[in-house]
């Protein structure tokens, strides 16, 4: 096997700059694009820091009941005795003490820290579920539209335009109570799981179009290539061509768009709660907390800051990681 000198140098460079991947191995090591991307990601300081932060947030959200046990305070417990006559928390910075790390809510006197932990759990769950569903719908419809073209392509394109033209917040605001009423009637006690489900459904209806556009464009660029023709010539079916031939070639942009969609859904969920749809007060969520806190902007600013900073940190970490992922997956991208 003869390597041209240029290739040899390039490979040697990759090998030498890779950290102690295989200390004992001498010579040229072949690596798949996935492995190369993983190496680049591991060497990127921003990616590592934001990745660790994200894992931390996710573990915190998943382990919320555990945190509650250790912390010793539940999200619905009220501490009226720590509030003054006007319902404002006693002490400094919104009542921050050793027992209540982020202070108390004015009025009801619930602990902000544990409510944030549960809010994190709600937001992350909704965002991941919505991102997964929209990605699935978007991939299937986008690939079909791009590969088959014709009237299907025209229809899907038109639906995309239509979805873009609808004001999302207003429609969601109108649709959410309507769906809830359909299932529960005027007086029914709405369970929080149902509220979460409705939110995810609304996101799914409106959110799939961007992934569909992305996938469609990528598929159109690939569909005339020889390997697709070869698959077709050897009798492959539609499913095989789309899922086994085309999709493996475009997973990188899909992964990046997924990682950037999650923070978008976190933001949207908060925005919806903020204008008063979304989840009931029973389910702790970021947007709801900020919305409730705005009334106390002058009297208890700490109450506004703790949820605001937490949601910023979460979305910031996601955005940093998404950017780093894009750089790692696309060797041509420049910083």
């Amino acid at each position: 096997m003869s390597l041209s000198p240029v290739e040899g140098v390039a490979l040697a460079e990759i090998e030498s700059s890779a950290d102690a991947g295989g200390p004992g191995i001498k010579g040229v090591v072949g690596r798949s694009p996935g492995q190369l991307a993983w190496l680049r990601l591991r060497r990127d300081r921003t990616a590592v820091v934001s990745g660790v932060l994200l894992v931390f947030f996710m573990v915190l959200g998943l382990a919320a009941p555990l945190v509650e046990m250790v912390y010793g305070i539940g999200p619905r417990e009220q501490f009226q005795n720590l509030l003054d006559g006007f319902g404002m928390p006693l002490g400094y910075v919104g009542g921050v003490t050793g027992d209540h790390w982020f202070g108390l809510e004015p009025g009801l006197g619930r602990d902000i820290f544990i409510r944030l932990i549960y809010g994190l759990r709600t937001s992350l769950f909704i965002a991941f579920a919505a991102a997964l569903i929209t990605a699935t719908i978007g991939i299937v419809l986008g690939a079909l539209a791009g590969y088959l073209g014709g009237w299907l392509d025209a229809v899907i394109n038109w639906i995309t335009d239509l979805t873009l033209a609808m004001p999302f917040l207003i429609i969601a605001l109108a649709l959410t109570p309507a769906i809830t009423l359909r299932f529960y009637g005027e007086r029914g006690q709405v369970s929080s799981a149902f509220g979460v489900g409705v939110l995810i459904a609304v996101f799914a209806i409106f959110g799939w179009t961007s992934t569909a556009r992305l996938v469609r464009g990528q598929v159109i660029a690939l569909r005339e290539r020889e390997f697709v023709e070869a698959a077709k010539a050897s009798g492959a079916g539609l499913g095989h061509i789309i899922f086994r031939q085309l999709l493996p070639n475009i997973w990188a942009p899909i992964l990046v768009s997924f990682s950037l969609a999650v923070p978008q859904f976190i933001t949207s969920e908060a925005a919806l709660s903020f204008i008063g749809v979304g989840l009931s007060d029973e389910t702790p969520s970021f947007g709801r907390m900020i919305y409730d806190s705005l009334d106390f902007l002058q009297t208890d600013p700490a109450y506004v800051f703790f949820p605001g900073i937490t949601i910023f940190a979460l979305v910031f970490a996601f955005n940093l990681f998404g950017d780093a992922l894009r750089d790692a997956l696309d060797p041509k991208s420049s910083r």
Binding site: D161, A271, I290, I311
Partner: protein, 328 residues
């Protein structure tokens, strides 16, 4: 060109038609009787029935829709309870605010325009400017500062930024009055001072996206051959960057700007709620809460019109910016 325009406008009309049908179906399919929301307090059954009759809710759905559409195009006669004759862009009568919906819109639309247009100018200048500077000064501290700024802006929430701005400039430093809307033509100074926080908040968050996008585009364009050619034939740097490179780099920015501005004109719900300004977005939210069906219909339709028109405009701008684009 004109053929393209006609084709584009036709498809835009089709989209708007679909939006109107969808909205109509969505709200009339609500299990709640739309009348209960429109009838003021102390409703008795007779009154309810009269309101329902006035609104034509006893007619079949298709003729209701046809009546509504006819009202927009030619105007129509509503019952005496709804203010009688309703002129050409007739959007119906709101029982909640007791006025013609077109009057409500005429009152709140200037508010949203006053928020969005200055904010959009600010965020485009800031975003594209920052993106260009950091692309030209790539790798310097200026570049890093701009990236940090845009990443922070992209991750912040409007209501949080708004809250902080309110706290600092209105409540603590008392530099600005509590945000409110005054007409530009009555008192320009008061108009600006009442809305400047909304502009800054919107511009900060939006410009972040534009800075990132235009930086990436600019970097890509700067490495192209035609930029080198332009430099090699002796053109000055400002001419090359400002005229040759910027023009090629800006097309995707224009697409996103069209969508963003079009969407924002349809109602900046979060901004208006945060700052307590009654524009199109707040009106829509209030209408949904009180079940004010004609107002909901009108706000959704107007929002859709803005988005669709912005899209057509973007296509036309494309042709103006990039001579390679042929409109067919």
């Amino acid at each position: 060109m004109s053929r393209f325009l006609i084709k584009r406008l036709l498809s835009a009309t089709l989209t708007l038609f679909a939006v109107s049908v969808l909205t109509f179906l969505m709200f009339f399919a609500l299990p709640r009787d739309p009348v209960t929301g429109m009838c003021p307090k102390n409703c008795n059954p007779e009154r309810l029935e009269r309101v329902r009759d006035d609104l034509g809710l006893n007619d079949p759905l298709i003729s209701q829709y046809a009546g509504y559409m006819k009202g927009i195009v030619t105007g129509r006669d509503l019952g005496s309870a709804q203010g009688g004759r309703c002129d050409a862009p007739c959007l119906g009568w709101s029982y909640v605010s007791n006025e013609a919906v077109s009057d409500t819109i005429a009152r709140v639309l200037p508010v949203t325009l006053s928020i969005v247009i200055p904010a959009a100018i600010l965020w485009l200048l800031l975003g594209v400017g920052l993106g260009m500077i950091s692309a030209l000064r790539r790798g310097t501290w200026l570049d890093r500062l701009a990236i940090g700024f845009s990443l922070t802006g992209a991750s912040l929430q409007l209501y949080f930024v708004g809250a902080v701005l309110l706290l600092v400039f209105v409540y603590n430093l008392r530099l600005l009055p509590v945000p409110s809307y005054t007409s530009l033509f009555d008192n320009p100074a008061k108009w600006a001072s009442g809305l400047v926080l909304a502009w800054v908040a919107l511009a900060f968050l939006f410009s972040a996206i534009y800075a990132r996008l235009s930086r990436a585009q600019m970097l890509e364009t700067l490495s192209e051959d035609f930029v080198r050619t332009a430099r090699a034939k002796g053109l000055a740097k400002p001419t090359v960057y400002g005229r040759h490179a910027l023009r090629a780099a800006i097309t995707p920015v224009v697409t996103i700007a069209g969508l963003d501005v079009g969407g924002a004109l349809g109602g900046t719900v979060i901004t208006e709620t945060t700052f307590g300004i009654q524009g199109l977005g707040r009106t829509a939210v209030d209408a949904v809460r009180s079940g004010d069906l004609p107002t909901i219909m009108a706000t959704v339709l107007i929002a859709a019109v803005f988005v669709v028109l912005a899209n057509v405009l973007v296509d036309l701008l494309y042709a103006a910016i990039d001579p390679r684009v042929r409109l067919r």
